[in-house]
């Protein structure tokens, strides 16, 4: 099940995140919903990301793959060159650069879709976003719910509600 708590400001929401994580709730089970980006102090609800790393990886894969394809394409043609080199490194380099960047861009977008949970089917339920509140959602079991409701209320939650997991 999930608990939802509404807060009127960022400070109260940040305090609530720290309180519930201090009470043993894994931060991966905590989500904050808002109509616009909410900026917490570092360490409160960091979301580690491998986006940069995977973008570089994607760039290397697409860049080197396309370069290999270009060399294969040029060597595969039975062109009589009279002993002259068939491959042109500098000219190939331009295309390598462009396709490396394409790989980085597509990699970034792919990681964005994955890390943000968009396009995933089995996602947690999400509340309707209101402009004037920040909604925090905590995944918990039935036994611990009562205690978490108290903690959230003490942290400044305006309202708390329980949502059953549809799955």
């Amino acid at each position: 099940m999930y608990l939802r708590a509404e807060f009127s400001d960022v400070e109260a929401a940040a305090a609530a995140v720290q309180t519930v994580s201090g009470a043993g709730v894994d931060k991966r089970d905590v989500e904050v919903f808002s109509a616009r980006p909410v900026v917490f102090e570092p360490g409160i609800l960091d979301r580690p990301s491998r986006m940069s790393l995977l973008a570089v990886f994607s760039a290397v894969v697409v860049g080197s793959g396309s370069t290999a394809l270009m060399f294969y394409t040029q060597l595969d043609y039975p062109l009589i060159t009279g002993g002259m080199p068939l491959n042109s490194g500098w000219a190939t380099g331009v295309i390598t650069f462009e396709l490396t960047m394409l790989g980085a861009i597509l990699g970034t977008v792919g990681v964005f879709l994955w890390e943000s949970g968009l396009l995933r089917k089995n996602r947690s339920p999400a509340p309707a976003i209101r402009d004037d509140v920040i909604t925090m959602q905590v995944r918990c079991d039935q036994e611990g719910a009562e205690r978490l409701v108290r903690l959230l209320t003490d942290s400044g939650a305006i309202t708390t509600t329980r949502v059953e997991d549809a799955s």
Partner: protein, 439 residues
């Protein structure tokens, strides 16, 4: 399915009312303008159809000028595309607060200008149905993609740039699409919801979006610079008078940014006037962009003067033929009009503080666009008219087909933009909301 609610208070509600209002209804003037631009586009398509049916001979490109208005327009529109993504990326990376009402309008220009510019190599081909020969793929079909050809470089560069630009426009649009899905009904709501790909506004999504936009901005910067460099290589890699120049790549990039800023200012001017967005596209935005325009005007002068001075000082007779044709020959009226449009008008109107008003900023932008189109014309045509072999010199005269297609592309740009501004909020609501909350 989650929906974003519409419970809003004071300033946030006002932002939505103002930004979403232009999306409602179709006024008489909107329909009349759309019909006018559509008619021009249809005429251009007819002209292109004639060229496909009758052959490339209906265009004015013939020996020795094999590159005519199509390549002029290609370079011009690719330059205009630098308005959006590049400027938006620079402002995003430098965290310029005033960028927020400007970025989406700018990014949309990039996508449409690239769509239009990217068409010209295909139109120029003549036999457009063989366009796939440009695409490098394994040559088991006995085609040999020539990777040493800058045209193949163009293909990959523009493909990368348009892919990146579309994604760069789309990603920050997702939160607004989710909000619009909750505000609209019926099929519109379903379409917006589909496009918003399940956005819920969770902190994970916001984190990922902001991280992705930062990374994309850095990548797009590199790609944008490379794209216009590659376009310049179409010229500078050939040993032709006044093309074979080492400064062509930065010269082209600077020119592209110059014309891009001018296009952005004009679009913002139109949005402010016709969509009543004066509250968001404020004089400060125009003044800041006009300062950038003035800076780029001086950069353009520097590059242009360096290029011409070097040729003049070298006094090589092959290059001097082109130089003379440009500066005091048959192309001199275009050349001096270009200097007036690209330097004199913006320098005087924007450089003298008392003269710098919204009206003069718009006039300067129009002048710069005319000047930059002329510059592309003067780069392409005189060199081919006065090639290295004097016996092969010859004139160029654009045909009605080329002129129609050229006019049609300007109409297409206006039409695409009108349709975009009717379907999507032209100002990023959530980004502007951040400013409202902060203030």
């Amino acid at each position: 399915m989650t929906t974003l609610a519409t419970t809003l208070n004071g300033p946030h509600r006002r932002v939505r009312e103002d930004v979403l209002h232009p999306l409602e209804g179709l006024s008489f003037w909107y329909l009349a303008s759309a019909a006018f631009f559509s008619a021009l586009v249809v005429w251009a398509l007819f002209a292109w159809g004639c060229q496909i049916f009758l052959g490339i001979g209906v265009a004015g490109i013939r020996r020795p000028v094999f590159w005519g208005l199509y390549i002029v327009n290609f370079v011009f529109w690719i330059g205009i595309s630098h308005a959006g993504t590049l400027i938006s990326a620079i402002l995003r990376l430098t965290d310029a607060g005033w960028r927020k009402p400007v970025t989406r309008a700018a990014e949309a220009i990039t996508v449409f200008a690239l769509m239009i510019g990217g068409m010209f190599p295909l139109i120029h081909l003549g036999r457009v149905w063989l366009f796939y020969w440009l695409i490098p793929y394994p040559n088991d079909r006995l085609l040999w993609p020539n990777f040493r050809s800058p045209l193949v470089w163009d293909m990959t560069a523009i493909f990368t740039y348009i892919t990146g630009s579309v994604l760069y426009l789309y990603l920050p649009l997702i939160p607004d699409l989710a909000e619009m899905a909750s505000r609209s009904q019926g099929w519109k709501s379903r379409v917006y919801r589909l496009l918003s790909i399940g956005w819920t506004g969770s902190d994970r999504q916001w984190h990922s979006l902001e991280r992705a936009m930062k990374l994309m901005a850095a990548m797009i910067l590199a790609v944008a610079v490379s794209v216009h460099s590659v376009v310049s290589y179409d010229f500078s890699m050939s040993i032709a008078p006044m093309w074979h120049s080492t400064i062509f790549a930065p010269y082209f990039v600077a020119g592209a940014i110059f014309s891009g800023i001018a296009a952005l200012i004009l679009v913002m001017f139109a949005l402010r006037k016709f969509l009543n967005l004066g509250r968001y596209l404020r004089p400060v935005h125009f003044h800041n962009l006009s300062k950038l325009l003035l800076l780029m005007c001086l950069v353009w002068l520097y590059f242009s003067a360096s290029e011409h001075l070097t040729v003049w000082y070298g006094n090589e007779h092959i290059e001097m033929a082109v130089f003379n044709a440009r500066v005091h020959g048959e192309y001199a009226p275009y050349f001096w009009l270009m200097v007036a449009c690209n330097f004199l008008i913006p320098f005087i109107l924007l450089g003298i503080r008392r003269l710098r008003t919204l009206g003069t900023i718009a006039v300067s932008s129009v002048a710069v666009l005319i000047g930059m189109w002329l510059e592309r014309f003067l780069i392409v045509i005189p060199t081919l008219s006065y090639s290295a072999l004097p016996a092969a010199w010859g004139p160029y005269e654009a045909s009605w087909v080329e002129l129609s297609i050229t006019a049609g592309t300007f109409a297409a740009m206006a039409l695409f933009y009108m349709i975009f501004a009717k379907i999507f909020p032209i100002i990023a609501i959530w980004e502007y909301d951040e400013d409202v909350s902060a203030s």
